[in-house]
């Protein structure tokens, strides 16, 4: 077990380190708040020491598994980053959106829509559900409250539609490759994660739409004055985020060949449920809660970081309780660092 994985040990060990170094670098550049920097450094030292000290953590297969586990939360965090940057905080309905998508995807497949047809149909539904939430928020509703209510409604709808049962998919089904396929030795789930992150990053940084979202998040009034539409923006970002939630629901269903609400109740360990995990990833990634600033790449890195901590603690024999506690503490610490660095800035 020890001989073959030694070869990829070096590059993989560098991967999280180089990413975090850029975070530290940007912290130094932006802030000069020694406490914030100190907290970040302590967290990273603990993480690196843990990575080296934990048996079987830095092996190729384990790193693959970390990347696969982080994919779901990472995709959600990518979508959520748009909402957060646009100044609309979070969605609390992501997990429930994934439930609805899972149930409806399995139903569409069973109806013989095929993979592409079902995917598109689910995405349209998700886009509409997201757009509706975005519209209410755009008219002046509080995003947290609106999506909390929406979460209740979507949970009820998904449960009622599936009769609160797990719907099996007859195998082989057309979505099998997405859930368990491999391409060049890397799971399709990880490829999807990568594609979504790259696409999200390109759109956010290099498209007109991405810049609109950032500007409106930074200064809504200024955006209005130069002729942008905050309402349209909030509709779009909520639709994007909901589609990310739906994609995760589809991927979970493809992987487990099942659809249902139960799959999302406690399926995804890291931050408790998917929604909380995605919010944690965005916040650990340091996206500004007040909008106008943030990065899809950092959110994705946050998701990988949380999944890595989680995986490390599993390997060291910790149960769910301490894992949740630690992830929560990482978030609180991230918030503290964020607050201190912002104060150093002003």
């Amino acid at each position: 077990m020890s001989a073959p994985p030694r070869a990829p040990k070096k590059p993989t060990e560098d991967a999280p380190d180089s990413g975090s170094r850029s975070v530290v670098q940007s912290l130094v550049d932006r802030t000069g708040s020694p406490l914030a920097l100190g907290l970040t450094v302590v967290l990273l030292v603990v993480f690196v020491a843990g990575a080296i000290d934990t048996d079987n953590f830095l092996t190729a297969s384990n790193i693959r598994s970390v990347l696969r586990t982080s994919a779901y939360v990472g995709i959600l965090a990518t979508g959520l980053t748009f909402v957060t940057i646009s100044g609309n905080f979070f969605l609390l309905s992501l997990n429930e959106m994934a439930m609805v998508a899972s149930v409806s995807f399995v139903t569409f497949i069973a109806m013989g829509f095929g993979f592409v047809g079902s995917l598109l149909a689910v995405m349209v539904i998700a886009g509409l559900i997201g757009a509706l939430q975005g519209m209410i928020v755009g008219f002046g509703g509080n995003p947290i409250v609106v999506t909390l209510g929406a979460a209740g409604v979507l949970f009820g709808v998904a449960s009622a539609f599936s009769n609160n049962e797990v719907l099996p998919m007859t195998r082989p089904h057309p979505a099998e490759w997405l859930g368990s396929g491999l391409l060049a030795g890397v799971p399709a789930i990880t490829w999807t994660f990568l594609l979504v992150v790259i696409a999200g990053d390109l759109v956010l940084r290099h498209s007109r739409f991405g810049r609109t979202v950032t500007l409106i998040g930074a200064n809504k009034e200024a955006g209005k004055l130069i002729g942008l539409h905050p309402l349209r923006t909030s509709i779009s970002v909520f639709a994007i985020s909901s589609c990310a939630g739906a994609l995760v629901g589809i991927m979970v269903s493809s992987q487990l060949s099942q659809g249902g609400v139960e799959l999302f109740a406690d399926a995804v360990g890291p931050g408790g449920d998917l929604t909380i995990g995605a919010i944690a990833a965005v916040m650990v990634g340091g996206t500004a809660i007040h909008g106008g600033e943030g990065s899809v790449l950092r959110s994705a890195l946050g998701a990988v970081f949380i999944a890595a901590i989680n995986n490390m603690m599993v390997l060291r024999g910790f149960t769910n309780g301490p894992r949740l506690l630690f992830v929560g503490m990482a978030v609180v610490l991230g918030v503290t660092v964020y607050a201190l660095s912002r104060r150093g800035q002003s």
Binding site: G149, G152, G156, I276, G321, L324, M329
Partner: protein, 355 residues
């Protein structure tokens, strides 16, 4: 509710002033009427709902919904929200059950409430000192407390061995139970504190007009710590009572009280923009939500559909608030315009006389 509504009521504007009060005040009479209609509707169509047992069941549901609503209302008045209220309550319920043997039931309950209150105070302190959004801070604490609840319970559902105190909580005093009396006393205490105590007024001040309040010399820390301490105490009391009454506690339970509590708080007239809401409003909202959810239960509606109804109610309340806010802004603008044009008309002929 706050002093900002003191627009002088001129004789010609009495009607619009009345409309403004209805739009701006927590609509308690409206909610009360709606609740009664809802209750009569359920009672007429559902077996047993109007009976003694049905009313008693309402009181039981009111324990969690009422306390969650009360705690959330206080933080919403302060212009923030405590997302960790569900897991804080779960932690309290686990503590109240787990330590019942070693500390005695009452000791365990007091320990649970103390721990939850201190966590709440910590939330408030962190939010005020770091000047971060309560959303960020409490979403992190949500996960921390979830983990803590699982650690305390040893990752499983814990059960009581001595049911004496739990049975006492379930006793019936006419339509009241000891639990309900405790909840009503908590509501009364918090409502009085918010309305009449200086520190309670400070919570309204930092919620309704934070910059002005700080400029006027109010520290942000004290009202924040007090508001979140009350929220933590409510969560702790709810968790402890539920754990003792039910005889068991799950570290993953009670998270749904965030949805029901928030719905109740907004139905009860709290405004997300802060500075508005009251302790009795929280109770009225909770009664409305309890009437709905117990009604659905009595009709055999599954739990998941109840959450759909309550979620829909929350979204509806938000929509109503948006519309009311828009009408209110339009009215204010019209009034100001009228006033401005009125003074101009009066000032028009005035200068020649003075000179």
């Amino acid at each position: 509710m706050s002093a900002s509504t003191s627009v002088p009521a001129t004789s010609d504007a009495t009607r619009s002033h009345l409309l403004k009060r209805v739009l701006r005040e927590p609509q308690l009479p409206f909610i009360a009427v709606l609740t009664v209609i809802m209750w009569v509707g359920f009672a007429a169509t559902t077996d047993n709902y109007g009976s003694f047992n049905g009313v008693f069941a309402l009181g039981t549901t009111l324990t969690t919904v009422g306390l969650a609503s009360l705690g959330l209302t206080v933080t919403i008045i302060a212009g923030e929200i405590d997302l960790s209220i569900g897991t804080n309550a779960a932690l309290a319920s686990v503590i109240a059950v787990q330590f019942s043997d070693s500390l005695g039931a009452l000791g365990a309950v007091l320990l649970a409430i103390t721990v939850s209150s201190l966590i709440g105070a910590f939330n408030g302190f962190g939010i005020a000192k770091l000047r971060v959004s309560s959303l960020m801070f409490t979403v992190g604490m949500l996960t921390v407390l979830w983990g803590a609840a699982r650690i305390v319970s040893g990752e499983r559902t814990v059960t009581l061995t001595n049911f004496e105190f739990g049975d006492f909580l379930k006793e019936r005093w006419w339509i009241f139970s000891p639990t309900l009396v405790i909840v009503l006393l908590a509501v009364l205490a918090v409502a009085m504190f918010l309305r009449y105590h200086k520190y309670g007024r400070e919570i309204y001040a930092v919620g309704g007009a934070r910059k002005e309040a700080i400029a006027a010399g109010i520290s942000l820390t004290r009202p924040m710590v007090i508001a979140f301490l009350i929220a933590g105490a409510c969560a702790g009391l709810a968790g402890a009572l539920v754990g003792q009454r039910g005889g068991s506690a799950s570290p993953d339970g009670l998270q749904a009280i965030l949805l029901t509590g928030t719905t109740a708080a907004f139905v009860g007239g709290a405004s997300i923009r802060g500075g508005r809401g009251s302790g009795f409003g929280a109770l009225f909202g909770a009664i409305a939500v309890a009437v709905l959810s117990v009604g659905l239960s009595f009709r055999g509606t599954p739990q998941y559909l109840q959450s759909a109804w309550i979620g829909a109610l929350l979204v509806t309340v938000v929509l109503i608030e948006i519309v009311a806010q828009r009408i209110d802004t339009a009215n204010t603008r019209r009034e100001v315009l009228q006033k401005v044009s009125g003074t101009r008309a009066r000032q028009g002929p005035a200068p020649p006389k003075e000179t």
